[in-house]
Amino acid sequence: MPTLTLLQAVNDGLKTVMRNDPTVLVFGEDVGPKGGVFLATEGLTEEFGVERCFDTPLSEDGIVGAAIGMAMNGLRPVAEIQFQDFIYPAFDQIVSEAAKLRYRSGGQYTAPMVIRTPYGGGIRGGLYHSQSGESYFAHTAGLKVVIPSTPHDAKGLLIASIEDPDPVIFMEPKALYRTLKGEVPEGSYTVELSTLREARAGKDVTVFCYGAMVTVAEKAAEQAATGGIEVAVVDLRTLLPLDEEGVLDAAKRTGRVVVLHEAPRFCGYGAEISALIAEHAIEYMEAPVVRVTGFDTPFPNTLEHNYMPDDRRVLDAIEHVYNF
């Protein structure tokens, strides 16, 4: 099996679907001859022509709105928003239109489309090249929200998202694009949406996380193990619709839970996990759930390494719930 970076796995996923399904189109800003600012779409225009992979004018609202119309009329658009931070000009089209189309038309019209977008910190991009806005979308009924954390899942989840009958926000952890390598099967395969993955087994504490924070959790778990604490790391993979049973099972197994994300804390995704556990598994809990998150501030620049949760903060939380 070839070893690919997460970025190459995304590229491979796009090529694989485009070879199998002529209705799949890729478009956005700089995705054509340049191959995307991160090179996720490198080689697509070359292989599939400008009819199937092309640059658009600089308007996210235009990109997403047009994708909805294409999806309503028989195509499978995969739109790229260059940075998740720049998705907000398209927020109206996503929240008011794509998400509600099936419901408001009684199922007569649908928008089977994917919006791919790199998210997250770690590249010294400051306020507007670093955000983790998953909660805005996870709060929107009708969308699916998917975030891979490994090359294998990036390809399998992307193909599953493109084949899915509903609109998917596919957020790619840009901090892992080139730093994470892994085995990726050739050809087409899918990773089922709304299923979580146990990235590491452990009986003492469960850390729930997704995206770039999975590697941070694994690092902290490694250090905890040297101190005799066995930590399970659970990669949620799909935030909406969530694998609720999987979450509750994993929480019950240890009774001690840390929730980790780089997005701000208040109304962040961790609040949903905490509430789910409080509602359905409180009797299994040996300690209060602890959240490790970004600050409730805009994303900084020079101090980004202090803003983003790191293994030190995660380990501190693990020890806290373990010793509670």
């Binding site: 600089l58 000009p89 400051g126 020079t302 101090l303």
Partner: protein, 369 residues
């Protein structure tokens, strides 16, 4: 089709009614243009050495940026995008603050919070842009509304690129400005590219200037590599706006000579021939020939000016390089006027770990609760 306004041909020879400007002013313009180029050069060097993260250069755009902004008065506002830092320096931003912003150190007036090339200078009415293309256009319109309401005669020059003309902000800004007849000059720096997307793919219109008609304002094409044409066109548009004549759109046609930023490889998407054709129209070379011909500049003086500018830059870089970043507690400051209790608690639990593990610095200490 109206022709581009041009006063200097690429060989530096005068065209049409060349504006009558004093020698000292003409010379200053040249120095400001040279400073832009020298600054880019030094910043790129720092970026390659890993000292700063990112540079958005203005090579090729010096005439457009400096010529147009030179027509503004001190009380006027300049709403910037990625590449107008040189205009800020000309209008009063200290070079040390420019360099501090690139380092994001504790001399940076924005406290190191924004990525590189996001300058601000309140004293000369120069807010930084966010990074989100097109948003500042509408801010300029609202601020011009406020100036007009108070009966002040400040003009607001709003800068943006060819790519930004596709943003929602462009439409809203020109539409509102036209309806309100506010004192705004929209300065579109059409540098041929929005990262890898050619200007020709951004619009089906003949020129961005044609869009002005739809908003009920004049639009004008200008040779953006001709500093005198850029100055003259801006001068006329600013005067009209100041006298209550309403907004207008200038399109300064120029060319981004380098990549979109230090992270971009333009050879993947454009021809060397196109770049070479524009190099032959270089705004600094052209202006130098004109100034030498007029006797404002001596032949070979450019090298001396360049050496002075580089010396000045190197001294500033030397100073700023060792300035430390802001203390960690600035992470939670300036979110609101006061640091609210929940942010104090978040910071305090963070700093407790940092202190215990020894990576806190003096001045990082906890907030009183």
């Amino acid at each position: 089709m109206t022709a581009e306004l041009q006063h200097l041909a690429p060989d530096g020879s005068p065209r049409g009614d060349v504006p009558e400007l004093e020698g000292t002013f003409l010379r200053e313009l040249f120095v400001h243009m040279m400073r832009v180029r020298c600054t880019d050069e030094r910043m790129l060097k720092l970026q390659r050495a890993g000292r700063i993260g990112f540079v958005g250069t203005a090579k090729g755009l010096e005439a457009a940026i400096i010529g147009s902004a030179a027509a503004l008065q001190a009380r006027d506002w300049l709403w910037s995008g990625l590449r107008e830092g040189g205009a800020a320096v000309m209008r009063g931003l200290p070079l040390s603050e420019y360099v501090a912003q690139m380092y994001g150190n504790s001399h940076d007036t924005a406290k190191g919070r924004q990525m590189c090339n996001h300058f601000q200078h309140k004293a000369s009415h120069y807010p930084s842009w966010s990074s989100v293309i097109g948003t500042q256009l509408v801010h300029g319109v609202g601020a011009a509304f406020a100036s007009k309401l108070r009966g002040e005669d400040a003009v607001h020059a709003v800068y943006f690129g060819d790519g930004a003309t596709s943003s929602n902000g462009f439409h809203s800004a020109l539409n509102f400005a036209g309806v309100w007849r506010v004192p705004v000059v929209f300065v579109c720096i059409d540098n041929g590219w929005a990262i890898s997307v050619a200007s020709s793919q951004q619009t089906a219109a003949r020129s961005y200037a044609d869009k002005a008609a739809a908003y009920g304002m004049p639009g004008r094409d200008v040779d953006g590599n001709d500093v005198l044409a850029c100055y003259q066109a801006a001068h006329e548009a600013i005067a009209a706006a100041r006298e209550g004549g309403g907004p207008s759109l200038l399109v300064l046609k120029t060319y981004r000579m380098l990549g979109h930023s230090s992270s971009d490889d333009p050879t993947k998407y454009r021809d060397d021939d196109e770049v070479a054709a524009w190099a032959a129209k270089d705004p600094i070379d052209r202006y130098e020939r004109y100034l030498v011909e007029r006797g404002v500049l001596a032949g070979g003086e450019r090298q001396a000016i360049e050496a002075d500018l580089l010396r000045e830059l190197d001294a500033v870089i030397h100073e700023e390089e060792t300035v430390p970043p802001m203390p960690m507690r600035t992470l939670v400051e300036d979110v609101y006027a006061e640091v609210p209790p929940h942010l104090r608690r978040q910071f305090n639990s963070f700093i407790a770990v940092a202190e215990r593990l020894g990576y806190a610095r003096p001045g990082d200490g906890a907030f009183p609760l």
